[in-house]
């Protein structure tokens, strides 16, 4: 079997409107190499990948495969390029077999399922992962779906596999499994891998080449043996950043403010997602819940926030049973900030000002006589919060969906923190998709809240974030709390194992 094609990007530039996504980027993926691309959000990594695949037509520069210029997706696919995206490209109600067959470009008009299954079976014998062909994709866990995605590419005969943040939905052990398999295939020179990632540990462990992009420009390329993590980080950000440690007073036992007992919550498919979870949040602490996404965290946050019904179990706040009515939310001061705030915590078409007032519009000073809206007061409150929290918006009357992700997050935080009524803040993945400045802002707000004696329940898929600011960390896996540790006593290997479900 001949080697995979050499992939070369020469001086690629791509502009969207007035955004310069890529500016003269050049890159070389040699046959049989494991090449990582790193960079912050917005550095242009995904855009570059899509240019290589022919999804985007570069404004300048060209893509060469084995020396020949390639311009269309068909040509790229023919030459053996394939990509595993961040979002799944599987049809949920079709089976694994149907999804694999679906991807084939040369299907006959009438499918001979016997022959197709034969082909699939023989493929699976040589394949690095095992999956059940007849399970519907919607019933697979995220890790299995990811494996099916990779299998799909291998089944199609992909020789250069581009992966966009593949391990973000995998447990540490699943990630290791996948990466090791890919590594082995690369060693056999049957595959080249182009890995887009922000996990520098992965880069050093598996890749032999790394390219760093920053704000659409190529910064550096190097063999991984000639470089180290701090240097890569420095090149990514463009300045020296020491590993941030927010020094904070160590919190000892104090009064519980939120007690969750034996909570049972069902997910969208009717199966339990939160299985008899119990936890206690104390005053003046940040309690983190670590875990790979898809293990019940989303449903837990939705249940606390009142967006999902609780089947059994109880939530008690300050000793009083808690049900998420508007009155209870206000008197208890339990505010919830779910992930993807634009979709889950705002009314996208409504203005920034109105969204900022979502918790307060029915009370004085924003409401008069208990039922009339006081628009002047609404405007003043919004202006104040925009100023205080540095929310960048064209105007307080712009629809909130026109704001960038970071500003939406600022707005939602402002809403909950502005008038000091928040006593318990439940936050999920607040820094997802945010740049360094916005992330630092959010973390400071949370730590500040904690320092004033309030409490934060921080659900995060980013272990580094929890290591930075959480006092105590729980691990959630398979809908249950499986491990608890103080940040100071934390053993990464143990936590990783629990996250993986062992």
């Amino acid at each position: 079997m001949h080697a995979p094609p050499a992939v070369e990007a020469v001086g690629i530039s791509k502009t969207f409107g007035a955004v310069r996504a890529l500016d003269g980027v050049s890159l070389e993926v040699r046959p049989g190499s494991f090449h990582a691309i790193v960079g912050e959000n917005g550095a242009g990594k995904s855009t570059l990948a899509k240019c290589l695949l022919g999804f985007y037509h570069p404004d300048a520069g060209e893509v060469k495969l084995d020396g020949a210029v390639v311009t269309t997706t068909a040509e790229a696919r023919c030459a053996g390029l394939g990509m595993v995206f961040q979002h799944f490209t599987l049809a949920p109600s079709l089976t694994v077999a149907e999804n694999l067959v679906l991807a084939r470009p040369d299907l006959p008009l009438v499918l001979n399922w016997k022959r197709e299954r034969e082909r699939l079976r023989s493929f699976l014998e040589r394949a690095p992962f095992l999956v059940d062909l007849d399970t519907r994709v919607e019933y697979l866990a995220a890790g299995q779906k990811q494996k099916v995605e990779i299998l799909k590419q291998l089944y199609l005969g992909t020789r250069v596999l581009i992966l966009d943040e593949p391990t973000s939905v995998l447990t540490p052990s699943e990630a290791e499994e996948v990466m090791t398999v890919l590594s082995a295939l690369v060693q056999q020179v049957s595959l080249s891998v182009l890995l887009i990632t922000h996990k520098l540990r992965e880069v050093m462990a598996y890749a032999d080449q790394v390219t760093i992009l920053r704000q659409g420009r190529w910064v550096a390329s190097s063999a991984t043996r000639d470089i180290d993590v701090p240097r890569i980080a420095e090149l990514m950000i463009g300045r020296e950043t020491p590993m941030e440690q927010i020094t904070q007073p160590v919190v000892r036992a104090s009064a519980p403010v939120l007690e969750i007992r034996d909570l049972l919550v069902r997910g969208d498919h009717g199966l339990p997602s939160v299985k008899h979870v119990s936890l206690t949040l104390n005053a003046g602490e940040i309690l983190g819940i670590a875990g790979v996404s898809g293990n019940g965290q989303r449903e837990l946050v939705q249940a606390i926030g009142g967006q999902r019904d609780i089947e059994s179990g109880s939530i008690t706040a300050f000793g009083v049973p808690y049900h998420a009515s508007r009155e209870a939310i206000r008197t208890t001061g339990l505010f919830t900030l779910p992930e993807e705030p634009l979709e889950n915590a705002t009314v996208p078409r409504m203005s920034v000002a109105e969204n900022l007032a979502l918790r307060t519009f029915d009370r004085p000073p924003l409401a008069k006589f208990g039922f009339l809206l006081e628009r002047g007061a609404l405007r003043r409150a919004a202006e104040e919060e925009v100023r205080h929290f540095s929310i960048r918006a064209p105007s307080i009357w712009s629809p909130i969906r026109n704001l960038s992700g970071g500003n939406v997050q600022r707005a939602v935080l402002a809403r909950d923190l502005a008038n000091g009524e928040a006593k318990i803040l439940v936050v999920a993945n607040p820094c997802f998709g945010l740049d360094f400045a916005a992330t630092a802002f959010v973390h400071n707000q949370l730590v500040d809240l904690r320092n004033r004696g309030k409490s934060v329940l921080l659900i995060s898929e980013d272990l580094d974030e929890l290591l930075k600011i959480a006092d105590r960390i729980l691990v959630m896996s398979g809908g249950e709390i499986v491990h608890e540790t103080m940040r100071t006593d934390l053993d990464l290997a143990v936590v990783g194992r629990y996250m993986g479900g062992h």
Binding site: A91, L109, R266, D268
Partner: protein, 309 residues
């Protein structure tokens, strides 16, 4: 000659069975058409207007040309065009397919009533009938065994769709388009084309269903000829969990419900006439209350439809 009254309960049952088969035909076509449309990820609520337009076209063309089959064909073409209109309109960004469906109901019925005004003749040349019970002495049984070829054609369409969904490339692609349009798009499948084609064919099928109304039973043209059947077929598809074969079975059920009033009347049970005539609507409502539930997603629902609502 025996008549249904003397057969008592059996007579009612026979009349009901015959009526069920006869009444199921519009439901079969419209529900199969809607099933196909929804499998591609689109909801076409405008089926009522498309059905009416098909009915009127069939009547008109049959009347003018003398050939009922030409009428049915014309109905399929015209209704297919309306389906195409709906499909194209809903591909425009920001167009809500529920609102588009309501627009199609108004537009389709408006066109049908407008062009239908000119047809004064009470009856147009009717579609031929298979007189399967020709040798049977009992009039009731004889009547029940008179079946339209459209019934058998409808069964064939259901089987073809079932087979196509499972075993052809087109069917696999279509299901992917309806389930995960973004994924299908990234695989190079022509998402828009599949949806528009499915909606067009869906409309054409509804047109054939409409031709049955004017060219067989009740066999006349009037503005009230459908009375919501197009819409009930949409509910039927949900009840049938988007399976062509189950659509077939459910259509027979609905046809039976529709035949309830007249069957009882022919057996001499009158009174509560309007209530019995409303039984299809009540049945549909009941069916929907039974099938739907707030929290659980329905099994078999195409992903694109589940996520809209």
């Amino acid at each position: 000659m025996q008549n249904p009254e003397s057969l008592g309960l059996l007579g009612i049952a026979i009349a009901l069975a015959g009526g069920a088969i006869r009444g199921s035909i519009p439901y079969i076509y419209v529900s199969l058409g809607e099933c196909l449309t929804e499998k591609s990820g689109r909801i076409n609520l405008g089926m009522e207007g498309i059905l009416l337009m098909g009915a009127m076209t069939a009547f008109g063309v049959s009347d003018r040309s003398g050939s009922p089959w030409l009428g049915a064909l014309a109905a399929a073409i015209v209704s297919g065009l309306l389906g195409l209109l709906h499909g194209a309109l809903t591909e425009l960004p920001g167009v809500n397919d529920i609102a588009a469906g309501i627009a199609m109901i108004i537009f389709g019925s408006g066109l049908a009533f407008f062009f239908g005004k000119q047809f004064v003749a009470p009856m147009a040349p009717q579609l031929p009938v298979f007189d399967l019970g020709a040798s049977v002495a009992n009039t009731a049984l004889h009547a029940a065994l008179r079946m339209s070829p459209l019934f058998f054609l409808g069964i064939a369409v259901a089987l073809v769709l079932h087979y196509a969904f499972e075993r052809t490339r087109w069917g696999l692609h279509l299901r992917a388009v309806g389930d995960a349009p973004d994924a299908a798009y990234s695989m190079g499948i022509a998402v828009r084309r599949h949806r528009i084609v499915a909606t067009t064919i869906g409309g054409a099928l509804a047109g054939i269903g409409g031709s049955h109304l004017t060219l067989y039973f009740p066999g006349i043209w009037s503005e009230g000829i459908s009375g919501g059947q197009g819409l009930m077929a949409v509910a039927l598809v949900i009840f049938a969990r988007w399976s062509p074969l189950r659509c077939l079975a459910a259509s027979l059920l609905f046809g039976g419900a529709q035949a309830l009033g007249p069957s009882l009347q022919s057996a001499g049970i009158s009174g509560f006439y309007h209530v019995f005539n409303a039984s299809p609507y009540l049945l549909t409502l009941g069916v929907m209350i039974f099938s739907c539930s707030r929290n659980r997603t329905l099994t078999g629902i195409p992903g694109a439809i589940a996520r809209r609502g």
